[in-house]
Amino acid sequence: MRAKKHRPLTLGILGILLVALSVGTWFATSDDAAAEYADVIINNYSDDAAMRPVIFPHWFHRIRFRCKVCHADLGFEFKAGGNDINMLKIFDGEYCGACHNSQIAWGVENCVLCHSGKPNQKTGVHNSTADRLVAPVGK
């Protein structure tokens, strides 16, 4: 009798767990595939510093600057995560700080405009051809 009395409650909890799991699966699978081509997640130091990772949108920047400005003049390597950028360098006008100085683009006090990514994401370029292959290569 006692066991029977608790059965509906157990089923209810199981039900809630299953709903949570299904919804969780849905969100997990609808992740990250929609991000813009060439968006770069930069998380060399952000997670460790309790900041959201930086999302660098190539599309936004190439509307305003030719590749040459950052990749030849400012010294950005052609590799996601391959540039040792930190806030001190940015304050001193290196890397992002060459423009993000309240003169050409928003200043460093607007932390959340760049540090805007979901936490715990890996550094890398988004939606590359290699990433979009059904069978992954070179991993």
């Binding site: 060439a38 999302i55 990749h71 059904v134």
Partner: protein, 223 residues
Amino acid sequence: MTDRASIIAVLSALVIAAGGAAPGIAGQMPQPAGEAPIILAQATGPSAANTFNRLMKRPSSEPNIQPSKDGIHDPANPGTDLLQWPSEAFADFPKTNDGNRVDWVKTLSAGLIRPWTELDDPEAEPFVMDLTIVRQVKGSMPNVVYPHLQHTEWLDCTNCHDEIFIPEKGANQISMAGILLGQKCGICHGKVAFPISDCRRCHSQPKTAEELRRLSEKSSWAK
């Protein structure tokens, strides 16, 4: 007791509905951890054969979606909603089927954008070079036509020479496998510049009849 029973009934219905709608239960491709799986078939519909995901599309592959819904920006971040939407920026740009769905070369040549060349002089013009290189490629694939002009519109000579490409005929080994792994042209193409799936934008010069004849003589398949 009756109340509890009805709550359970509602919950069970929810479980069935959510379970049925969840993509996780349909056939999935094995994927590395942390990546969205590709759903091959949905459990609903006439049969699995008809509903096979023939385009190998991932869920929510809607192009140029706003940052708060793109899966990588944090919607809880107060700055996310202040960012520009790609769909708004790209509204007037010539379209392609891949990458950002934007033909950046045409967008630039049509004057729809005026990206700076020098940080200290917004009016400075780029140093362009109009020299076209044709690479004879293996097999029957059309030869690759490489225009310096469109590349120097965006880039500086030092971006490629001499670290990535030696400026000498025959000195550079290039393969599609390497490009897919991010070498040579693949340092930009497939990541930022138009993707590798856009084959004919590079492989654009058909082989001559003579080249094709010589190929078929060499090929053991043709015999």
